[in-house]
């Protein structure tokens, strides 16, 4: 009896509570400040000039793209509400949402799209020259229609229109200025859910809610703050204590992630990096002995224990890689696991046999060859990984000396002077193989001075041809066939060792919901993030 009365009471209170809920479009709670740890501090906010990782983590809250993406790597509406691709694949027309304004009050129109793509991204963005190379013109029949005219079909283009990869800029603030030195660079004005307020160098950047955001009722948060903390242990402590709420892309050291994730208020996820798809590698210089010999390269690939590297250097955050294309592309039908596998249990044995066959015999001291192994200067993991490789090479009779240099020296050594034999490295294979993968294997990517391209300098006419065909092939099934052959040929030639698909981790406070909602992860606009309580 009493129980029923209590229950009834509760029901009334609950109903009253529901009635008092704020009247927003989807009933999410409004308010709150999200503090994100960004490491390292971005050098600039000009995301249209530099693709350096941390820049995108903040600028995507201000600049949006024509499209967003779902977890199947399919485009979904962004600034464009719909689009049609012509039968020959050479015309793509975007219909823009109506009523979108930049945060300075000026309307966003198709003229801004045309200007951003043709005048800024195609000319100045590091990857824009490739992404938009076939875009010959953009027609703007009205304010809300932008028609891309292409010289050739460009299926990869549709994967590169996020706010991270191709930000849409305000023409009225950039037109007629020196794009590379525009004063807007560090006080960005965009269409996004947050407005840039201030940047205290070395400390934080503050972004406040954009009250005129075109998605009604959003964003739910009042404020977004990016904080820069140089010391990794302090970053971990900030998340633990709730002073900061989210950190990704290695901001939280892998060694701390597991301990943090055990805390009741913390969640760790590897989702939200599906459009980065990084692969941890060893790059050979395929023009110098001993690695000019395919069998020697294969031997090294056999000798590396993927499991050991993943478990002990990256604390379990990785997945063995099979070849040049990340398995994240399986949903797009571009990945195949049916290639030569180097990930075998008796790898060292196979490697020794291959080296004997290659004519690289052990000398009286058991040494077949002496090499220098360069370490990519991006942090501790890479040093541990280098030390592991050194030990494995010793087991197969290759004596490796480690060399550790600063970033510019290392980049010049690998990509300009080609003065190396073996280096560890990692490459983001990005949203489409044309943008992220071709650059490592194509003859025309052997470009001294350009970083993160084909530094191994291996190429073959057939693989070049396959990549050229896949670039212009609009049918996903046919592209899949081309890429299957490419993967088989490249893996057989082994210009690199593909060790594992690196999994970044985002650690966040559970009081925030809908943080990671797409493969863009921390590069998403955060308009849907809201507080739980």
């Amino acid at each position: 009896m009493i129980l029923t009365r209590i229950l009834r009471c509760c029901l009334v209170v609950a109903l009253a509570g529901l009635a008092l809920m704020p009247d927003t479009a989807s009933g999410q709670k409004r308010g709150g400040t999200l503090v994100m740890l960004v490491q390292p501090e971005p050098p600039t906010l000009a995301s249209y000039l530099s693709t350096s990782g941390p820049i995108g983590q903040v600028t995507t809250k201000v600049y949006e793209g024509l499209l967003e993406y779902d977890f199947n790597l399919k485009p979904i509406p962004g600034l464009a509400q719909s689009w049609t691709v012509s039968g020959d694949g050479k015309t793509i027309s975007f219909k823009l949402h109506k009523g979108i304004k930049f945060s300075d009050g000026k309307p966003f129109t198709s003229a801004d799209v045309k200007f951003s793509v043709l005048e800024v991204l195609k000319k100045f963005h590091p990857r824009g020259a490739i992404t938009f190379r076939d875009v010959v013109d953009i027609e703007t029949p009205d304010e809300h229609t932008a028609v891309f005219k292409l010289a050739n079909p460009a299926p990869y283009l549709m994967m590169a229109l996020s706010g991270y990869e191709s930000p849409m800029l305000p023409k009225h603030l950039f037109e007629g200025t020196d794009i590379k030195n525009n004063k807007q660079a560090n006080s960005p004005v965009g269409t996004g859910p947050y407005k840039f307020v201030e940047w205290q160098r070395g400390q934080f950047m503050r972004f406040d809610r954009n009250p005129d955001y075109w998605k009604k009722g959003r964003p739910y948060l009042d404020r977004f703050v990016a904080r820069f903390v140089a010391d990794s242990a302090t970053r971990t402590a900030a998340i633990e204590k709730g002073e900061a709420h989210v950190g990704g892309f290695g901001a939280i050291p892998y060694s701390d992630v597991k301990a943090l994730a055990r805390l009741p208020q913390i969640e760790a996820t590897t989702r939200g990096y599906e459009m980065q798809s990084p692969i941890v590698q060893l790059d050979f210089n395929t023009t110098r002995p001993p690695f000019d010999n395919q069998k020697v390269r294969q031997a090294v690939s056999y000798a590396i224990s993927r499991k050991f590297v993943i478990d002990n250097v990256w604390f379990g955050f990785g997945k063995p890689a099979t070849g040049p294309i990340n398995s994240n592309f399986a949903v797009a039908g571009l990945y195949t696991p049916s290639v030569k596998s180097y990930n075998v249990p008796n790898g060292v044995e196979v490697a020794n046999k291959l080296l004997d066959e290659a004519g690289l015999r052990r000398g009286p001291n058991g040494i077949r060859a002496e090499i220098v192994h360069d370490i990519t200067p991006y942090g501790e993991e890479w040093q541990r990984y280098g030390e592991y490789v050194q030990q494995v090479l010793a087991e197969i009779g290759i004596k490796a000396t480690l060399r550790h240099e600063d970033v510019p020296t290392w980049l010049r050594r690998i990509y300009t002077d080609y003065d190396f034999q073996l280096t560890n490295n990692w490459i983001q294979t990005l949203a489409d193989p044309v943008i992220g993968v071709h650059r490592l294997y194509h003859t025309n990517s052997i470009r001294p001075g350009v970083v993160f391209v084909n530094g191994s300098r291996w190429a073959s006419p057939r693989t070049d041809q396959l990549m050229d065909m896949a670039t212009v092939e609009p049918d996903p099934a046919k592209r899949g066939v081309l890429y299957k052959e490419l993967q088989q040929l490249v893996v057989e030639a082994a210009p690199l060792v593909w060790v594992h698909e690196l999994q970044f981790v985002t650690v966040y406070n559970k009081q925030f919901k809908d943080l990671i909602v797409s493969p863009l992860g921390l590069y998403a606009p955060f308009d849907r993030v809201h507080l739980d309580k």
Binding site: S232, S255, N312, E380, R384, G386, Y388, H404, D406
Partner: protein, 274 residues
């Protein structure tokens, strides 16, 4: 023999000598006791100490005890080589300046001061970064930042000696400068130089550890600073990775300092009856 009798009077100096002897023995026997590379994987990672391995294993399954023994070699070698370098340069510079005085003194001391104005450790970092990390560049860097102190000390001693009667007498007798310097002045100011030298060894070990900790060590050589640097991320989960090499550095540097103090007490005539 009198020297030894005076030396053993100090218990702390004896203690320092004992600890240092252990470190030297560990360093000398490392290739026998822990044959093969100390970077070699021996077992599962993160095995705790005092189990199947005396000091456990690290993140890549390397034997920490092997690292400590081989690291002792690195530390002592770098400490000694850098100190010898600093002593030779410092003594020559300071000696010439103190003995000849005048313009020579001015020029040499301005050069010395130039080196002294740059913060020691930052200068060492800079040098290693420019020369690319290796044992050789670390030794050079430590010697370059350590010699000015020796030069100032030796100059002071030489200036004081220069005006003493026995030196004046030597000069009056027509002895060559070289003979005066090497036969009469240098032996008389050897004791403060030795004491300073012992302290420079200790500082050199600390600088080397700090450089390795920052990732500027020779990546092919095991050292204590490297072990701490590699283990610091696991301070919460595997305490021994930082603690054991940390204790090794602490004990070695303390031992050298105690020894230096003992030498000072023994060699300094004014402190002989302390």
């Amino acid at each position: 023999m009198a020297f030894w009798r005076r030396f053993v009077r100090s218990r702390s100096a004896l203690l320092g000598l004992a600890v240092l002897t252990i470190v030297v023995v560990a360093a000398a026997t490392a290739p026998i006791a822990f044959s093969g590379s100390p970077f070699r994987r021996v077992d599962q990672p993160f095995l705790p100490p005092f189990g199947s391995y005396l000091f456990g294993t690290d993140v890549l399954g390397r034997d920490v005890a092997a690292g400590i023994a081989h690291g002792a070699r690195t530390s002592l070698m770098i400490g000694l080589l850098a100190t010898v370098g600093a002593m030779v340069v410092g003594t020559v510079m300071g000696g010439v300046a103190g003995y000849y005085g005048g313009l020579v003194d001015d020029v040499l001391m301005r050069v010395t001061e130039f080196f002294q104005t740059i913060p020691t450790f930052l200068f060492a970092i800079l040098l290693v970064a420019i020369l690319a990390p290796s044992i050789k560049s670390i030794v050079i860097a430590i010697a370059v930042v350590s010699w000015p102190a020796v030069a100032r000390l030796v100059r002071g001693e030489f200036m004081a000696m220069r005006s003493r009667e026995f030196v004046q007498a030597c000069i009056c007798l027509g002895m060559s400068d070289r003979r005066v310097i090497f036969r009469h002045i240098l032996p008389n100011c050897l004791s403060p130089i030795i004491v300073t030298g012992s302290l420079i060894v200790a500082t050199a070990i600390l600088i080397e550890s700090a450089l390795s900790f920052l990732g500027l060590g020779d990546p092919n050589t095991m050292s204590w600073g490297f072990m701490i640097g590699a283990g610091r991320t696991f301070l919460r989960t595997a305490w021994w990775l930082c603690t054991i090499p940390g204790i090794a550095i602490l004990l070695t540097v303390l031992a050298i300092n105690l020894l230096g103090e003992g030498l000072n007490d023994t060699l300094n005539p004014r402190l002989r009856n302390r």
